[in-house]
């Protein structure tokens, strides 16, 4: 059976930027655009050039992508030509192959928000789209508030779509801008629009999650014949977010009827990367990842209930709707569970740590993990620390060095020419074997900018570790994540540090303390210890 093509239009970088608390730099937009391209979406809506300086900057150096790079804007204002509309000119100046313009299709908005007549609005749509086409761009039309507009005046709403298509738009997209339309109505209206003469093959759907139905509404429109979905990674977006492509892509590829009847631009390889891409986006934005996110969440395949866990071990199909490996995720049987011991043995074996089935250390490790997690530690994202914990309980921990003391100083003052500067300095006293070493380091980058106390501490630690120096010298810090956990008197700081070495390894360690420098110190020391163990170093 020949599958029909379904197109994915990603607006993470534009609608996703409207998420409260989200601010992309141009460099971050570039990295995300490349991830989206590798994933296999068809359009990447990069932002609104001219309106947002960061977006202009991004488009000025936008990466080359297979996906069609698209600039967002709005239809021209009344009272001037499309050629003379400076906002539209700003959008075109970004030079993208495609441009998507949002325009009104709801009489209430035409009158209230724009203060013009229905006829003038149609002219704005027609002239704007025609101008894009004349400039050699692919033109897309986002029909704002479509479902509310259709409810008030269905003929006018459809006429807006037809006007855009006749002016040369390749796609017209039904936008549920307020997010208040339920799936049944989205399906009904989409079918009616197609019956009224808008071809499904040129119809897109853009939904929001204000009733928790963004994904369902997108699917309802596809069921009704639409063939483009606009969404974002991780459901980013205004208010409650857009339809999550992270959630939709696996469903479209793995579940009927979509798997058999529709084809998207994402390959099986791309699908297997979706968990990693989802988590990388959260890292870039330093947003705590949503554990319960479908497919990609760390809990998506976590089977806590005792019944579920023991059944799963016998046969995963009993409690999993898809194989987590297909989306690059993994099954978890959380540590707090009875069935956890066999899972623990399996995880330790993966780390090269063999433990006999009945070793009482297994139960001790589970208890210690629980205890530490109550204190604020998190081993989900700090596998290396988990391994060190296990080795400790198994009596296999080796003792390489001891930090007798450290002192970190941050000073802010005026320099000799009266300019305010900040200086961080760290002193560490390390004992290795019988020897005692003192090291001091400042923390400045090539521009002379102070990188802070944690960086100073790391440099001092790494400066002179005696017999271990060679092993440490190819090690560097890759990422540093801070979370304040608990609240009030229980508040404490959790620091996760990611390290990498010259042999391609990457590992993450965790430290917890009310004192952020101390928490960082704990994570740093663990990072070094893990590296020494993995390098097979013998303690001095």
């Amino acid at each position: 059976m020949t599958r029909q093509r379904l197109y994915l239009y990603d607006t993470t970088l534009r609608d996703g930027q409207q998420t409260q608390g989200v601010q992309f730099s141009a460099a971050e937009k570039t990295e995300i655009a490349l991830m989206l391209d590798a994933l296999g979406v068809d359009h990447i809506e990069g932002g609104w050039p001219g309106a947002n300086p960061t977006d202009s900057e991004f488009f000025a150096a936008a990466p080359a992508t297979r996906a069609t790079m698209t600039a967002f804007g709005m239809t021209k204002r009344a009272g001037r030509s499309a050629e003379n509309d400076e906002v539209l000119a700003g959008v075109l100046n970004a030079g993208t192959p495609a441009v998507c313009l949002v325009g009104k299709t709801h009489p209430f908005h035409v009158h209230e928000a724009l203060g013009i007549s229905l006829e003038e609005n149609l002219d704005n749509i027609r002239a704007s789209v025609a101008h894009l086409v004349a400039e050699g761009r692919e033109a897309l039309f986002d029909a704002e508030h479509f479902f509310d507009g259709y409810a008030e005046n269905p003929d006018y709403a459809v006429l807006c779509l037809k006007t855009a298509l006749e002016a040369g738009a390749t796609w017209v997209i039904l936008c549920d801008t307020n997010g208040g339309t339920l799936p049944a109505e989205v399906g009904r209206v989409t079918r009616a629009v197609i019956v009224a003469g808008i071809p499904g093959a040129r119809l897109g759907i853009h939904t929001h999650d204000d009733t928790g139905n963004a994904v369902a509404c997108a699917l309802a429109a596809i069921d009704a014949g639409a063939r483009q979905i606009q969404g974002t990674l991780n459901g980013l977006g205004e208010r409650c977010g857009n339809a999550s492509l992270t959630t939709l892509i696996p469903t479209l590829m793995l579940k009927e009827p979509y798997r058999s009847t529709l084809e998207i631009g994402v390959t099986a390889q791309g699908l297997s990367q979706i968990t990693r891409i989802s988590r990388r986006l959260d890292e870039i934005l330093n947003r705590p990842p949503l554990r319960a996110a479908p497919y990609a969440g760390s809990s998506a395949f976590a089977h806590k209930a005792g019944l579920h866990a023991s059944a799963i071990l016998k046969n995963p199909a009993t409690y999993e709707h898809v194989d987590p490996a297909l989306v690059g995720n993994q099954r978890i049987i959380p540590m707090s569970n009875q069935a956890g011991q066999s899972n623990l043995r399996a995880r330790l074996a993966e780390a090269g740590i063999e433990v006999c089935r009945d070793d009482p250390a297994l139960a001790r490790i589970l208890d210690l993990v629980k205890l530490r997690e109550d204190q604020g530690y998190a081993y989900d994202g700090a596998q290396a620390s988990f391994e060190l914990l296990a080795l400790g309980e198994l009596g296999r921990m080796q003792h390489f060095f001891d930090v007798e003391r450290y002192r970190v100083t941050v000073e802010r003052r005026k320099n000799a020419i009266g300019r305010r500067i900040s200086v961080s300095e760290a002193v560490v006293v390390v004992r290795i074997g019988g020897e005692r070493m003192l090291s001091v380091s400042e923390s400045v980058d090539e521009q002379g900018e102070d990188l802070g106390p944690v960086n100073a501490l790391w440099r001092a630690l790494a400066k002179d570790l005696g017999p271990y120096q060679a092993n440490i010298s190819d090690m560097h810090l890759v990422d540093f994540r801070v979370r304040i956990t608990g609240s009030g008197v229980d508040a404490t700081t959790r620091v996760i540090i990611e390290s990498a070495d010259g042999q391609g390894r990457r590992w993450a360690t965790v430290g917890v303390s009310p004192n952020i420098v101390d928490a960082s110190f704990e994570a740093l020391v663990e990072a070094i210890r893990w590296k020494l163990i993995r390098d097979g170093v013998k303690p001095a």
Copy 2:
């Protein structure tokens, strides 16, 4: 038109307990049960007594509720009578007016998980339900894996339901246990089940969010005629969670067709409490609230896009699908680089800062906000810093004090008795008027625990501010949030500090620097300046 009754069955305390990282104490279960009762749900599934010690403890002292307190369990094992099944006895011993038993309806599970025949399974269902009824309890039957079972053997699946009903169950609930069924199929199967003879008025639906469709699947079943929804507050639950009642209740009460055709046990008063209840649950569990949650999330009515914000000011109906007040939430127009001048004037007016419409400072303020946001500042969550920025551009900023320099030291060493301790100390040199003051402070709490460099810096700053001391003395830090923005050479630290004073004010300020202590310092100084301005203090 007479509305039909739709019943809400809450399983926050049972299925919700299967959320990774969630652990209810019996006291917490009691508090949540009372919240659920005040909200207006019909059944409260409190847990699995006998199987979970905390649940037995909860049921032993369960609060009196209008809602029907319900114990969860499973159908009897084969080879013994219902009366002699000790797990079932444990469930009954809790003495609840209702009991809900989960049982198999999927031949694969009957054979694989239970290792019994289809006939024996029917007998387990029949005998268990009959036993509950004989014991004077309301009996409910959760048909596990129903949609997968129906796909494999529809007749058997329906027969299981009929068996339960004939044995006296008041409700039989179709459970999408793996969460893999899409809404269209849920609707189709529910309709088929009703056609096969199961009355919709005794049919419930229990969905999970593994494809992001838990809410949509619940609505699909209701559209098809089911009349009970099983869900949880805030979508807690195994893996990706259950259908969120926090999301469903407002939709059922405010949106067509449900508003006109169905009636639930929640009143308008209860609905107006749903945001508060949702957030209180997150507080109890110390989970960060989901900002993007439909209806109850802090971002649910946050309008960041410039177009949206200016339209909203004219008429909220333009971009809101429901009035936030109905669910006890509020509209937010965050300050960010997309806000326009009219929005800016409105925000400043709310802060008591009047600015004329054409004041050129407005454009300068917007530009400065954009510039700062490019540097890593975020004013969404730091309203007080935004106000200071505006006052600066308006030439209305007052100069209270100057921090000439500071030095913060964190030291980790062994104390006199050989115990490892951590000590943070800060020295600040402040110039006020013509005077120069030096202050030093350590940072320890009542237990002698070191609270870190930022806390030390705060204490030193707040220790002696000369003429301003009285204003500072009732000020304290409430929250401290750190985010590393950018990456690699662009990485910098953003700190947001939330402060509170004795007059009930709370305000947030932001600081940015690669050095986390310096970023914190900036936020601290702004917090003090804001306080002094709000207190109407005259600079010395």
